[in-house]
Symmetry: C2
Subunit: 321 residues, 2 copies
């Protein structure tokens, strides 16, 4: 039976959901669970469930890493944390895997240093599954295990993402896309153009560049990017989803209000700053209201003599050569 | 009176919304509009409105740049396009500004080459206003006028964004944030760490790094980033918004269905790929169902012997040293 070590102290509401989820898993999924954490609160929580005959064991860990802990410091100082102990259980082969809803940086640090990196892997990657418009799942990686990755790292992310996708979502030949700012090969930055070349030559089922909207379109299964970009992408999605729920909850005429609020045509389009003159670029799907608002914005910028002000401010800003 | 040149041929449904929006603007906003495009269709569209006494003039332009045109090629070859003519009207001082809902790349190219860049500006920037959770607007820039920007370019974006914000949204001292992967100064990539130092020393009202979720939180007014990152961010927002509307439209029990579909806790969290062992990282807000699903994912990955497969695939992938 597969054994999973659960960091019982990690999440914002620990250990309640960790214990309850473990009980559900042990009951439904034929896995064994090691609940790692401070024995008293975990035992008290477990006592609320009829878990006596379930394959669940409590493994004590005296320390707790909080969300506000600095990951590297917490890793060095709290060596008996539930994260450390869970990682050691995997390292020693007593568990097949670990899960944690705790401080992401601390979990990554512990995993990298206690579990170590695979032989063929230069950089680990954090992969995030997203629902897509076709009712399936697309996976984005890396969403923040690294910044400033090199091209060969992204190639490795592509391979790892493909293997993960096959293992979890059962697609034999997932389509892999590279997150960029246009579909053509030449579109992108220095990094993505090099990665494009590597991926084209690789055995990966690479379908080319994809854009931000493809996270949800379902046009690809695995989307590869630098961890800096991926982390920002992930946080945007979470932030936007939360905002939308808040709006829906607040509003009775939710749909209309929401539509108006996130309809960026209300804002009249995007000004191109820095050109001599005023230039506002709208969306191709602009309706009459959007066009009117774009005119309003352009007129407002002209009235405000925005370019004179930009020249002024920039002269006042010492820009190192 | 401020005069705005409107690219009447730009958008997906041109010239209908362009003409209607111009009529609305001329009627309500005390601006003069130059409708630039193929005279016959524009005149026919204008005839549908009672616009005889409005300050609207049609300026003929024989060519049309489509969404599928290559921006640089279209700029070189279609010199009598509505985009070219509108830009020339601004360049010659016959209009105070231009708006276009057309091919963004072509409009940027025309603006850069026909209008030219301001004296103090090294790189133009495209700025996108977003609604935020506080009921205000936050502005993200650059969302795609450049890739591979240097630190001093981002400093200029910050200044231009601040001036634009003051001119359009009337905040005297907008708070400027730098888009990164953590709030501390050391968080980020090589580029953002250098930009952080520049911004701190500048007269800009810089409040530090912000994360993806801050696009919507309203914690800052202006968010500065590289055009590669910004373009991906913008496309993600558009894609996610469209997906959510589609879901809301399709579903009767919209809210519940939506919640389930975009609730990534259903997917059991993010696996950290490349470590020796299985490590799944969930969200701090994980509920019991999320923990159960994370255990399911971890067990599935262990069962699938994902690491053996990663090692295998990576050995088969020739990674250039």
């Amino acid at each position: 039976m597969i054994t999973i070590a659960v960091d019982a102290m990690g999440g914002d509401h620990a250990p309640r959901p960790e214990v309850e989820g473990s009980v559900l898993a042990a009951r439904e999924l034929s896995v064994r669970v090691l609940l790692v954490g401070q024995a008293n609160p975990v035992r008290a929580e477990l006592a609320k469930h009829s878990a006596r005959n379930l394959p669940i064991e409590i493994i004590p860990a005296s320390e707790v890493i909080t969300m506000s802990d600095h990951p590297a410091q917490a890793f060095r100082r709290k060596k008996d944390s539930s994260v450390h102990v869970a990682a050691r259980l995997v390292h020693e082969g007593r568990a097949n895997g670990m899960i944690s809803a705790g401080n992401t940086g601390a979990v990554m640090t512990a995993a990298k240093f206690i579990l170590g990196t695979l032989e063929s892997v230069d950089r680990v990657a954090l992969a995030a599954p997203f629902p897509n418009a076709r009712g399936g799942v697309s996976v984005l990686l890396d969403v923040g295990a690294n910044v400033d990755s090199r091209p060969e790292h992204l190639l490795q992310f592509a391979v790892m993402g493909e293997v993960y996708y096959r293992a979890t979502f059962g697609n034999r030949r997932p389509r892999v896309g590279l997150l960029s700012v246009g579909e053509e090969e030449i579109k992108g930055n220095v990094l993505t153009r090099e990665v494009y070349t590597l991926l084209k030559k690789s055995p990966v089922h690479f379908v080319g560049n994809v854009e931000g909207g493809d996270l949800f379109s379902g046009s690809v299964d695995v989307i590869v990017c630098d961890g800096f970009v991926g982390n920002i992408a992930l946080k945007i999605c979470e932030g936007l989803a939360v905002s939308i729920f808040d709006l829906l909850k607040k509003s009775q005429g939710a749909f209309k209000g929401l539509k108006k609020t996130i309809d960026y045509t209300e804002y009249g389009g995007a000004p191109l700053l820095g050109v001599r003159g005023v230039c506002v670029i709208g969306h191709g799907r602009s309706n009459a209201n959007a066009v009117k608002n774009a005119i309003r914005v352009a007129a407002g910028l002209a009235r405000a003599r925005i370019n004179e002000r930009i020249e002024q401010e920039l002269s006042a800003t010492a820009v190192p050569a």
